[in-house]
Subunit: 230 residues, 2 copies
Amino acid sequence: MEKNLKKYFTLAVSIDCVVFGFDGKDLKVLLIKRGEVPFKNFWALPGDLMKPDEDLNVSVNHILKDLTGLSDLFFEQVETFGEIKRHPLGRVITTGYYTLIKIDDYELNPSSFASKAKWFKIKKINELAFDHDKILLSSIQKLQKSVRIRPLGFELLPQLFTLTELKLLYEAILDIKMDTRNFRKKILQMKLLKETGKLQENVSHRPAKLFQFDKKQYEILEKKGFNFDV
Amino acid sequence: MEKNLKKYFTLAVSIDCVVFGFDGKDLKVLLIKRGEVPFKNFWALPGDLMKPDEDLNVSVNHILKDLTGLSDLFFEQVETFGEIKRHPLGRVITTGYYTLIKIDDYELNPSSFASKAKWFKIKKINELAFDHDKILLSSIQKLQKSVRIRPLGFELLPQLFTLTELKLLYEAILDIKMDTRNFRKKILQMKLLKETGKLQENVSHRPAKLFQFDKKQYEILEKKGFNFDV
DNA sequence: TCAAAAGTGTTCTGCATACACCCATGT
DNA sequence: ACATGGGTGTATGCAGAACACTTTTGA
């Protein structure tokens, strides 16, 4: 490499992950308590420096797996943050990603890191390490946009779910209230849900029908120019 | 810095700009012919390595000004590309930005670089240097989304414009045909345009009324939760 | 008088919204 | 029997989509 180029090759790139989950009531994000300086004992998004020999969009999988055990997830790139002083140890540019997981799957398989990781309601998060508050905010905004265009929400629900659960999820993501009848009407006429014939059990009220997302049907509709608009 | 961290601080970050313009008929992008290897004599997006002591979002202004003389522009960050081999000279992560300019202003003030820079119709671009085709595609898609949410299009038109010009612009950006009467109706009822009382001159047909964008009115409507949907 | 683009209204359809009561189950 | 959430239909208004002719100007 030419000598006058060398001064440019002195940066590090990191990746920060916003892992969204839904517990049936609130939209949550997985945070990790930092054990090291800087920002020791602060809660932070799971993230790390990217290895220089890894592809950016691939590295995000490795980093999240190392930190949390979660693997094989779909990530959406959100935004890249490059303020000069955002990292105390040097010049680090960071790219934020978000992913959506079924929170129950995660709770059933806690990995060794679990003591340091915790789900937080998004409404109750503040004062994260570094500029992670900004990354989180940007991720929420992007999720809110995306969820109106593609049926992403189902990634956050168990395989079988009720229409009420689905409505609560959209209300939590979009931070709005929806009308029950209008919501049910709109969702059902999209023909994206399959009735399973099963019912809720062990509830002290009329049990709700359990539905599942019909992915094949979605792919058919998508090809026809279908637009998912909740 | 600890020694085991040093191996991470070996990357460079670059910035690539998609400068959109509109000539009254086609959506165009400003490209520069590379004089140096790699990709010598290829057309490329204006871009350069970021200086390690500059903020990412600030650096984009400096880089575009150095290359084209264009300054004081608004940039929207698009996406960051980090494939391992995307740059032949080393590990370079690049962040793409787009901006919108009034093409006439630019043509009236060519800077010294002009011989190497040229506007290309977006439909006719292919085989750019590096992964710039991907950056361009991603930028177009982001522009198409944004232009339906905020009244960005006016950045591409002269101060005074006709409704036909505005319609042609949206048709070019969105790559669709629109109905004249419905378009005029919808735009005018938004109350975002001011009639200037002036008319087109030197046209061999009925001259059209000239309008201008009413920015103050937009800010008032925006606060009320107005959504610009063309 | 011709060519070329500007400008104008109505109808239809579908979707968003608002709104209140009965149903099925467990305790 | 009561408490709890599940489940249902209708009426209204608004906005998008389709569609054809007259007007104004310069050449």
